[in-house]
């Protein structure tokens, strides 16, 4: 019996080397993810969402300054694996990813079925072509594409279909965890709703664990059991979706929710004045302090993470020593 926690990330840091100094794209992120659940990582552009999952999957560029922390996958610290072992045993066999805009990076001169089968040939050496194609047809059905599209080329498919094909490519090796980076932001509204239906179905029927990266909280709510909010390289709040939309605690999460326009409910929209700090030499204290209406003296020091009721984890001085009570209004 495998443990309930599929992914346990502790103090993960990923800093990039640049001419101006190290960019702290991911700076001490800690979170846990339960098997079969979906975690939505939300935040503004440049807050480190994509860097976080690239660090977990070890899809790194060359200019790495710091890459430390622990990533327990099924209880094993995979950070200790060397690159070759990680590639063979983890990446795509256990964890797969659908990168942002990947539907536009399909090879135009190779048939869809051959492209989807490629991870199989790489990760299950010796698999017969017949068997591989059988598996491809299976995932094709799972993502809801008609089988006669197998033989076609990417340009013959619509945007929504191409996006499904890339999801099929991630699912073909039967991974336990799939990372989706902005899977629906380039799609039209109806296509987007369709895709979320497909993902929901996969989640229910196959128990796949997802990490969904998005800036669209409305769409995230279709799939997410847990919401993690990132700001300037840090995870400032992690919370069950049940409570997040109505009862987010971190001042940034609250502002973020207040800026989401809603269709069915008339509310006063707010925006967040100012800009996120530069990730080169970010402030030593709370990184949101400059834009926060509730800041006080303590905020010039780095805030610890406090666990409140409903397992809500918040990195903010407002909740320290309060056992879930708001200390300063």
């Amino acid at each position: 019996m495998k443990s309930d926690i599929i992914l346990d990330v502790r103090d993960l840091k990923l800093h990039f080397r640049t001419r101006k100094g190290p960019v702290q794209a991911v700076d001490g992120v800690t979170f846990q993810l339960k098997r079969g659940q979906t975690l939505a990582v939300v935040g503004e552009s440049g807050c480190g969402k994509t860097s976080l999952v690239k660090a977990i999957l070890r899809l790194l560029p060359r200019n790495i300054e710091t890459f430390t922390g622990e990533v327990f996958f099924n209880g094993v610290d995979v950070m200790k694996y060397n690159d070759e072992r990680f590639r063979k045993e983890i990446r795509w066999t256990k964890m797969a990813m659908v990168p942002q805009a990947s539907m536009n990076s399909l090879n135009p001169v190779i048939r869809i079925e051959d492209q989807i089968a490629e991870p199989l040939f790489l990760h299950e050496p010796g698999i017969s072509r017949e068997k591989a194609m059988q598996r491809v047809a299976e995932v094709f059905k799972v993502v809801g594409l008609p089988l006669d599209f197998l033989q076609r080329y990417p340009f013959e498919l619509s945007g929504g279909m191409r996006q499904r094909a890339t999801i099929a490519m991630a699912l073909v090796t039967n991974p336990e965890l799939v990372v989706l980076d902005e899977p629906s932001s380039a799609l039209d509204l109806l296509t987007q709703a369709n895709l979320m239906n497909v993902l929901k179905k996969i989640k229910h029927e196959y128990g796949t664990t997802f990490i969904l990266i998005t800036h669209d909280i409305g769409t995230a709510s279709e799939l997410a059991d847990e919401i993690a909010v990132m700001y300037a390289g840090e995870m400032v709040e992690q919370c069950s979706a049940e409570y997040f939309y109505t009862d987010a605690r971190h001042p940034y999460s609250r502002k973020l929710m207040a800026s989401v326009p809603t269709l069915r409910e008339d509310k006063e929209l707010q925006f967040i004045p100012g800009q996120p700090p530069s990730l080169i030499n970010p402030p030593t204290g709370c990184r949101f302090a400059d834009r926060c209406e509730q800041r006080f003296g303590k905020c010039s020091e780095h805030p610890p993470v406090t666990e409140l009721e409903h397992r809500q984890q918040v990195q903010c001085w407002l909740y320290v020593n309060g056992k879930g009570e708001v200390k300063h209004a």
Partner: protein
């Protein structure tokens, strides 16, 4: 400034003057085979009629390829209509000569979707803002300075002196979009056409830009056409909404009425497909009409939505093009379901 009329107490439509009237507008693009053989037309805009009043904000929603950007560009004079008329303050602008077209364009501002793509990377902010004035013969240096100062103040790019020598790449996405708005405002237009002005921006900045546009609209009694695919932002922006599908306007309604009760099955589907942040969403599947938007080279006969519509009436929807039915005081739908009203 006559902005009192806009704060909730607008005159009834009959008493207001339309600033823009579009009549039976068609924009078709010819498709050629082998460079010279005509293969057919893409009917990007196929019979669009509406009026826009002074100081009114109008949203046009629809998915990609429904013709909403073509409509914007035809109004701006960037595409020449195949058929139909566009009246701006009473003059037909499809028949203007070169000089008159230039004057017309000075009265209509354009806010592009991608701010970075819309700003020349080698020009400073000051130069970008001066360019439209040079083209339109405002050569007085003091007048130029006054206008630059005024529009930058209006879009809140302050302190102004810091921004003037900057290049577009030195600005954040939100600041770039403000600059695009400032440029559109510098010739003091009467009408703004905003084509997806916030779709490239972060959620927190999006609201800021929309509120800014709204304020500018009130202050100058501007008419705005706001083109978007995102139904959830229109509530905060416009008085009326048009929904487009397959190169035609299929529903016209006041924002209030449409958000309460969308009539056309396609508008309903769009409404259904939009997710508000709600934990309940996890438990349900969305109802989405099957299929894809129609080809605009060979559009389906009858109603263009009928192949995907669950309420299709055989023998009617697939044969006859539905006219516009008035369903309530402020809601029109081009759908046979409402033929009795």
């Amino acid at each position: 400034m006559p902005n009192a009329a806009l704060k909730g107490q607008q005159k009834p439509a009959e008493e207001r003057t339309p600033i823009l009237a579009v009549e039976n507008l068609h924009t078709w693009f010819e498709v050629r085979r082998m460079g010279f053989l005509k293969a057919g037309d893409v009917r990007a805009l196929d019979g669009v009629t509406f009026e826009l009043y002074e100081g009114e904000a109008l949203s046009i929603v629809g998915e990609s390829g429904c013709g909403k950007s073509t409509l914007a560009k035809t109004i701006l004079g960037l595409h020449h209509p195949t058929k139909g008329k566009i009246y701006f303050q009473g003059t037909d602008v499809t028949q203007l000569d070169k000089e008159q077209t230039k004057q017309y364009r000075a009265k209509v501002g354009y806010i592009q979707q991608d701010p970075y793509g819309a700003l020349p990377p080698f020009m400073t902010v000051e130069r970008i803002l001066r360019e439209p004035m040079l083209i339109n013969g405002i050569t007085d240096k003091d007048e130029q300075k006054r206008r630059i100062r005024q529009v930058l103040e209006e879009v809140k790019l302050a302190p102004i002196e810091d921004f003037l020598p900057k290049f577009p790449h030195m600005l954040s996405g939100g600041q770039q979009q403000r600059l695009v708005i400032a440029r559109a405002m510098i010739l003091e237009p009467k009408l703004l056409v905003a084509d997806e002005p916030v779709s490239m921006l972060d959620a927190s900045v999006r609201v800021e830009i929309l509120q800014l546009l709204r304020k500018i609209q009130y202050d100058h009694n501007l008419a705005i056409i706001y083109i978007t695919h995102d139904l959830s932002t229109v509530r905060y922006f416009s008085e009326r909404i048009f929904s487009m599908y397959g190169a035609k306007i299929i529903e016209k309604a006041s924002t209030k009425a449409l958000l309460k009760n969308p009539l056309h099955p396609y508008t309903k589907a769009l409404f259904e497909a939009t997710s508000d942040p709600d934990a309940e969403n996890l438990k349900t599947f969305k109802e989405v009409p099957a299929g894809e938007p129609p080809s605009l080279m060979n559009p389906p006969s009858g109603c263009r939505f009928h192949p995907r519509c669950s309420k299709m009436i055989p023998g009617l929807c697939d044969r006859e093009i539905p006219p516009e039915f008035q369903v309530t005081d402020d809601q029109f739908a081009a759908c046979w379901l409402y033929r009795e009203s």
